[in-house]
């Protein structure tokens, strides 16, 4: 049975076709679930993976998701995205239900000593405020500069800078030639570099001027 025929019969809820569908795509769904769980760095038992996989197939069957999927061409990618999304939601649900209880930092640490709060017990990390400020400034400036590009190019830049994807993968995800990606990223990064340097230099100058003015006032 070819994919198109299988897809059609599954949409009509034919049990035999459905069994074949599960047999054929169980591997992909399991792999997607395991991939996401590994990425989230969670200790999940084999049974949990199987539970998630079963729930995914149940969701597809009960909600008649296949009927709404018009084309079987993107069936594999749809299953992968659906599995990743479902695993993420499942994990968040479990974490929220069983492990994590929200605790306020203003809550007293001991019942007898109401003045000592939980927040007081957390050691303050040694933070270089200047460096943090600079990093935040750089982030904001980078975001601002990226937003000046067209959406298509913004996506390319974000996949490269924020998500650390290889140029080959970016080309595959966006379905554009590798040369286009490489050429654009090379040019755009040069442009971003010069603009950010200019921006940060000017903000440094402003800060120094501000300090001088403050000192003079004192």
């Amino acid at each position: 049975m070819d994919t198109q025929e299988l897809f059609k019969k599954c949409a009509e809820k034919d049990p035999a076709a459905w069994n074949e569908f599960i047999r054929r795509y169980q591997g992909l769904v399991t792999r997607a679930v395991k991939y996401k769980l590994r990425e989230m760095d969670t200790r999940v038992y084999k049974n949990d993976t199987q539970d998630i996989v079963q729930e995914i197939f149940l969701l597809i069957w009960e909600n008649g998701e296949l009927q709404r999927l018009k084309d079987s061409v993107c069936l594999r990618s749809w299953l992968a995205i659906l599995s990743v999304n479902f695993t993420l939601n499942y994990y968040n649900r479990i974490m929220f239900r069983s492990h994590r209880r929200m605790v306020s930092l203003d809550e007293p640490l001991f019942r007898e000593q109401a003045e000592t709060t939980l927040g007081d017990s957390i050691p303050s990390p040694t933070v270089n405020t200047e460096r943090m400020l600079r990093a935040n400034e750089l982030d904001a400036a980078l975001e601002n500069e990226i937003s000046k590009f067209k959406p298509h190019h913004q996506l390319m830049l974000k996949l490269d800078i924020y998500d650390g994807q290889k140029q080959k993968d970016i080309a595959e995800i966006m379905n554009v030639p590798l040369g286009t990606v490489a050429g654009f990223l090379g040019r755009a990064k040069k442009r971003l570099n010069t603009r950010l340097q200019r921006e940060l230099c000017s903000s440094d100058k402003n800060r120094k001027l501000g300090r001088i003015r403050k000192n003079k006032k004192k």
Binding site: A32, Y35, L82, M174
Partner: protein, 137 residues
């Protein structure tokens, strides 16, 4: 930034490049501003890529992937004889890769599990593992 995320069907159609250009532009605009959807697309791409690689690898490819540490160990051992200058280095590499191969293999893992169960004194657990081990074989 558009906060209403497109559903999985649209994202998968984007990934498969079957969306009309107008819709494609809308999705790209959204993806540029939404970290979660971008994450989904990247994950799906990685899974399909991995899947494709394993699928196209064939039986020989899969055997190579499965026994990569063993092959590496054997190669290092052979090299130690052909490049006497780095004999010790290659020998050490062969030992490290070999131990990785042994500890990674399913049989060793099962034997460790049986041993741990015996140590804990849980006879049933050990017997179950042993039965599973024989049936797997």
């Amino acid at each position: 930034m558009n906060r209403i995320c497109p559903d999985e069907k649209i994202l998968s159609a984007y990934l498969k490049a079957v969306l009309p250009s107008e819709e494609r532009k809308v999705v790209e605009k959204h993806l540029a501003g939404c970290d979660a959807c971008r994450g989904l697309i990247i994950d799906a791409h990685n899974i399909l890529k991995k899947n494709g690689f394993l699928k196209t690898a064939g039986k020989l490819g899969q055997w190579i992937i499965k026994n990569r540490w063993g092959i590496g160990s054997a190669t290092a051992l052979i090299c130690s004889f052909f490049v006497p200058r780095y004999f010790l280095q290659f020998l050490a590499a062969a030992l490290i890769l070999g131990s990785k191969w042994i500890t990674d293999s399913r049989t060793t893992k099962t034997l460790i599990m049986i041993h741990e169960a015996w140590k804990r004194g849980n006879r049933n657990d050990a017997e179950n593992t042993l039965t599973r081990f024989h049936s797997d074989k």
